[in-house]
Symmetry: C2
Subunit: 322 residues, 2 copies
């Protein structure tokens, strides 16, 4: 009889504004088991309770030894106080999340912003592997991000940095959900694709976009992307327009960070080169000297499971015995 | 007879777009001897020749042992090629500056962007001493900068980063001298104060600004600042307006870097709190959660000698025997 050595695992948690996803992840970053639940309309107690149950289920399902649980949270964590300092889509502001979850679960936990966990996963195992300087943009409902500089993750003095969605790109622009004005995510996120699609529909009620969005169905970034892939000219134009806006933000990133690459993840990356090609064009044209031409703009390697894998990579990095 | 031990010195060079300034600097950062010359209307050969003579003079004037010569250059240096990759105001693009000066001078030399040398000096010895995360903005003709993150200077993958003046703050804004559009330095530099002053004068030809700028004398940031300190309401309004623009760029910096402080140097800092108070107000109001309220916006400690001292600090750091 040959003994089977169970693989080491980590539990990765993607705690986002619309759903929470818990996965068992092995050391080769395969996702072995998934548990998912909505985060809409729950209060903090319900959310934490439900999350505890989901992680318990994942812990039971894990085939090997679990080194711990890594959380990527859509919010700003304050590393000095241990509290969640801001989270526009979750009822967790002021919650000592790591302490509570550690106590509830009885296993080692690690918590970081979801942009940081995505950057960590792409840097250690994905599109930015081996880079000394890279920036991650997660383009979805909003825009999150992560930074690698001088060969290390940059989180800022209290862990709240890399919020690229909240760069000011239009000085007297539209008010952002965070309270600021003219922020990058208003103009260049997945939601921005939806809004631009709605404007295109309103301007041309006879278009394929109008036909595909009948009976007051909301124009989303996903719908525009789908139509664009099907060849609808108006939808393609919308994505090219938002891609240029994305590129303008990347010009700032190129000139500030001089990174080797910018990795783009999040739901909007479903648009692929329809979105990235115009972004690259703006970066090459407008960034300073060699800062734009020596910079690659690439899609993330981890797709829909990026959040779970990011959480698991955080756990492997911070909690595994070495 | 008691032997006098001569202090260790470094030569610091501030190579800017309008002048080059060479100084002998002792270990307590006192500037013992200065040589200055214009950089207007010189070609590369003249500039390098003149600079060599100036440094020779400084080396002779130094009272102690000189560890080397540190240059802060207004331009983008490519650490991979050793060439100056961009420099809007100097005829040095494509010049292997460090190699040429090292050969010409016969003493150890170190070269960096002037924003980086200013940041280094403020971080090691000035307003940002002891910070793990800080950003420097040198607000003058344009806006340069430097970054400290995770307790180290961040220069980017080829040494060209920290060009905060070339953040996009207005998506379809005015064209910048670098070729890009809507850059921070167009709206928030010392030159921006001059341009806003000119607009205020044009709008109100009977103002103190108009009286003080007779016979077509150009309205400069320095003139507006002088009149503002004298209490001229229109000039104060101009500086407050530019201070708010400065604050909007700082909101991006706060949300990206979550620094403990932003240090503001350069000529425009002569306006003092007239400029910084409205900037602070915007940062506190618009930056995310605790990122703005826990952030100090402070003037640089090193004034007109900042460039020379920055160069010398670079030399002490990189060239001194320890």
């Amino acid at each position: 009889m040959v003994a089977t050595v169970a693989a080491n695992c980590a539990i990765g948690v993607d705690l986002g504004g619309t759903k929470m996803l818990v996965g068992v992840v092995d050391e080769s970053l395969g996702v072995l088991h998934r548990v998912q639940h909505s985060t809409d309309d729950v209060d903090a107690t319900e959310l934490l309770g439900r999350l505890g149950e989901m992680v318990d289920e994942a812990l039971e399902a894990a085939p090997g030894e679990v080194c711990g649980v890594g959380f990527g949270v859509a919010g700003i964590l304050d590393s000095k106080t241990g509290l969640i300092a801001a989270s526009p889509h979750l009822p967790l502001v002021g919650v000592p999340f790591e302490a509570l979850m550690g106590e509830r679960l009885g296993v080692p936990v690690a918590v970081d912003n979801d942009g940081n966990t995505s950057m960590l996963a792409e840097w250690l195992h994905g599109a930015a592997k081996g880079a000394s300087d890279a920036v991650m943009l997660t383009v979805g409902t909003g825009i999150g991000g992560g930074i690698v500089a001088n060969g290390g993750l940059v989180r800022g003095s209290s862990g709240g940095g890399a919020e690229f969605g909240h760069m000011v790109v239009e000085q007297d622009g539209e008010q952002c959900s965070c309270g600021g004005y003219g922020h990058f995510e208003w103009y260049a996120s997945g939601d921005a694709i939806g809004r631009a699609g709605q404007r295109a529909l309103d301007a041309n009620p006879g278009s394929a976009l109008a036909e595909a969005a009948p009976e007051g169905r909301e124009v989303t970034g996903a719908l525009v992307t789908e139509l664009a892939h099907d060849g609808d000219a108006a939808s393609i134009e919308v994505i090219v327009e938002v891609g240029r806006r994305l590129g303008q933000g990347m010009v700032s990133i190129a000139n500030i960070f001089n990174p080797q690459l910018i990795v783009v993840g999040g739901g909007a990356i479903a648009a692929g080169d329809l979105l990235l090609a115009p972004a690259r064009e703006v970066v090459e044209r407008d960034a300073l000297a060699s800062l734009g031409t020596n910079l690659s703009v690439v899609p993330a390697e981890f797709g829909a499971d990026a959040g779970v894998i990011g959480g698991a990579v955080l756990a492997f990095e911070q909690l595994a015995q070495r």
